[in-house]
Amino acid sequence: AQKVTQAQTEISVVEKEDVTLDCVYETRDTTYYLFWYKQPPSGELVFLIRRNSFDEQNEISGRYSWNFQKSTSSFNFTITASQVVDSAVYFCALSDSTRDNFNKFYFGSGTKLNVKP
């Protein structure tokens, strides 16, 4: 069965600190996709990144970076030099390529990040 675990319910940091959000996933499929979404206080869901299981290269986009490790089934998200605008709930999600599940996303319960000035 597919499952995504975000064990950190809430994290508080002071502006300019680095912070890592953890995501651990479970799937029996060998081909799968991982995602991160951001939900700011305004409520919309914003797509951040998609990663394929066959591409373990880490990704960096500005202050954001993602560390994908198949050996530990983790897809962690790091924000460098956090800013108040990073305050949001962040969701990790999984989709695999089995016939029934290709279009289904399984979301973790989310991590609420509070960045204080």
Binding site: V4, Q6, R50, R51, F91, N103, K104, F107
Partner: protein
């Protein structure tokens, strides 16, 4: 912006009444989804559609039905609302763009309160 609108954006209703939520998209995407978001659970899939009149259940489909008579509209119906269906409901579409932008994009959400 994925061209998704949801209506209504907020609704308060009473237990036992029927409720229909509408999702409308302007970009002709084949796949559409309904999720509910509850504290501690993230987003959970209720139903999804892979074409006109083609729908399937998600993990929390009990008490919900859906219909898709046109590509652009995906309706979620609570036949007899219960307090446990108080939630924020999100509609999503799948953009089959290929590459790393191939993902689901979400509408603004509908906050439903069942008293």
């Amino acid at each position: 912006d994925a061209g998704i609108t949801q209506s209504p954006r907020h609704k308060v209703t009473e237990t036992g009444t029927p409720v229909t939520l509408r999702c409308h998209q302007t970009e002709n995407h084949r796949y559409m989804y309904w999720y509910r978001q509850d504290p501690g659970h993230g987003l959970r899939l209720i139903h999804y559609s892979y074409g006109v009149k083609d729908t399937d259940k998600g993990e929390v489909s009990d008490g919900y039905s859906v219909s898709r008579s046109k590509t652009e509209d995906f309706l979620l119906t609570l036949e007899s609302a219960t307090s446990s269906q108080t939630s924020v409901y999100f509609c999503a579409i799948r953009k089959l763009a290929g590459g790393n932008t191939d993902t689901q994009y979400f509408g603004p959400g509908t906050r439903l309160t069942v008293l």
